[in-house]
Amino acid sequence: MKYDVCIVGSGAGAAPVAYELANAGFKVLVLEKGAHYQKEDFFKDEVGVCRRSTFTPRLDLEQHVIEDLEEEVWVGTPTSQSGWDFWNGNIVGGSSNFMSGYFHRMKPDDFRLKSKYGEIKGANVVDWPISYKDLEPYYDKVEKVVGVSGKVVKHPFLEPRSSEDFPYAPTHEHAISSWFDEACKEKGFNSIPTPRAVLPYSVGDRDGCEYAGYCGSYGCSSGAKGSAREALLNKALKTGNLTILANCFVKKLHSDKKRVHSAEYITKDGQIEKVEARLFVVAAQAIESSRLLLNSKNRHFPYGLANNSRQVGENLVFSAGGSGEGEFYYEDLDAYSANALKEIGPFVNRSLQDWYELEINKKSHKGGTIDFLFEHPNAISRARRAMYDGDIVWGDKLKSRLRHHFTSRRVFSFEIFCDWLPTNDCFVSLDESVKDRWGMPVAKVRIGAHPHDIKVGEKIALKAEELLKEMGAKNIYSSISSAPPQNLQAGGCRFGNDPKTSVLDKNCKAHELDNLYVSDGSFMPTGGSVPFTWTIYANAFRVADVLVKRLTAKKDS
């Protein structure tokens, strides 16, 4: 059978395309490397979910090679040796199953970073070929179709919106949210209720949030979280036009000079199959999408598919920034407040964007977003933090520390999201000497960061610390790092108007091929100072519109 569209991957960049095309009556095939789970399969099992390779590949079977700078030399280390896992959820729905669901839109200036703030030496900053205005209708669509809860409040960096407010009211909030608001008032900061891809009540087949308190890192057992699987693929399957083949790893795309004609994949049983389609969409998450194109080299594309410009894999970006925390001790609070603080379940749902633009050396620069949350309740990882007191400790000393960590206080945290400036030192290539379980070269990822990222992160961290101090937290600290958060990856196939400096055109079609699109975060030339998922969803809906129009026009003619 020849499909209208074959999509590689099933996460936030893939599912909107599958959803829209299946609803428009086209035959869609999704090829997903991982298994197909449903909400009934997800449990709060810290060992299974967070400490073992259950929803991600075991690293000796599939891995990456990470190139880090050691004494001015780039040294590559396979992740099976380092344990630094760059997989983020290899199941139907991808890493969106495991997101926390902080949903922020990018701001209009994020689309014209170079024009607005100028060049930064050593960074490959460019303007996007589309504007916020082009993407706004799709941000709006995500709010309604995927489901975003929240409340719009005015603040200096509120982006223009076509809908007055979110379609879903905010999820229940923790008592600390009101403490946060009071502290913001004192400091003159603008407290923002964080929009969240979590439904506060049941809608269709999706139940409302159960407030188990373990959102990030876990698959959602109620279906409230707007994962690509729950919010889009399950609905698209009902059209009868979508086929999902799980446990199928796409090894290579085959093309002639102008068109991709088939995808070669390996089934769970090790069978090699090929499938044909009119259009091909790659959305395997940024690093793996670049890897697939690089592994698909042929005589027309000796450097990899769509890579005669040698741009595939270049300008990979992550989210820069870092995190921090402060402690609230129960003994410092009255009994009512202490009990309120102990409650597990309701969300903090608070962010600050007052420093989305800031001044460094009397010049305006892009700043970032601060999201506030409690320390993740995962017990084993919290216990591990008690293991060191300068030196490693055990016995009664360890037990005292465990009791202290768990029973005397609650840790209030923040995460900072800034632009990771694209540079020549952050890219994806292939490591021909390290192969995966199917014999394919793995992705080699160089992770160099621009020093400017640290300056921005540190400046914003001071503001977050100031707020925690106002709230009465103790032992406040922050850590801004140039180490990439592996779950926040984008770029590698940036879009643009010039085929010499970009892989994709403004509709995310490969410049060099007529029927190849990349619809995950790979298209992003810069990442904005927010988590990427909402933008990836929105852009994939935009690409889906282009594909529906294209296929409809051909059908009609």
Binding site: S53, N88, S323
Partner: protein, 190 residues
């Protein structure tokens, strides 16, 4: 939620990498002797059992029952370690390295006290752990063992430890819901 290097599965990555490199060098030197022992069918069984016993008794010492609370025996660490040693989701190289740590601890016990670790007094064991914690392999072994103790203490009871949530109760921890009722079959090839 941001995933960072040092949050990833909780490993001390730099330390692990360096230690593994050190281990590769050491195992090359030990290779012939080690292989000889491992290739002898009857010796292999004895050697393996000895290492698992050393692991178990390491856990008993590092997290002994006391006035301050639960100990490794209380949380059924033996069941949990048995699960860990057959869990296919853990890389074989990591399991081997863990067992190698026990082997080196036993070796250190003989070097220091001319006795198996299992036969040492509490104070001798304590001094031995203090000594090996000054070495990279020793810190790694203690780190890994404590990591599995924490898992036994705080994981879902389906894994054979933390029966009736005894560890959760001790630390007043809310484990969330739903909790798993069975261990999913893992089909990785080994």
């Amino acid at each position: 939620m941001i995933k960072y290097k040092h949050n990833s599965k909780g490993h001390d990555l730099k330390q692990n990498t360096l230690a593994r490199r050190a281990f590769l060098g050491t195992s090359f030197l030990l290779g012939a002797a080690t292989l000889y022992w491992f290739n002898q069918k009857d010796k292999k069984v004895r050697l393996y059992a000895n290492e698992t016993q050393v692991l178990l008794h390491s856990a008993y010492h590092l997290f002994a029952h006391s006035e301050l609370g639960l100990g490794a025996k209380d949380i059924h660490i033996a069941s949990y370690l048995a699960f860990v040693l057959k869990d296919k989701r853990i890389m074989k190289s990591d399991r081997d390295y863990f067992l190698k740590g026990a082997y080196w601890l036993e070796e250190s016990a003989f070097e220091t006290y001319d006795s198996s670790f299992l036969n040492l007094s509490y104070d001798q064991k304590e001094r031995l752990f203090q000594n090996i914690s000054k070495e990279r392999w020793g810190r790694n072994y203690i780190h890994t063992t404590l990591g599995y103790i924490f898992e036994a203490l705080l994981s879902a009871p389906i894994y054979g430890s933390n029966i009736d949530g005894i560890g959760w109760k001790w630390l007043e921890h809310n484990p969330g819901f739903p909790q798993p009722q069975f261990i999913e079959e893992i089909t990785y090839e080994v």
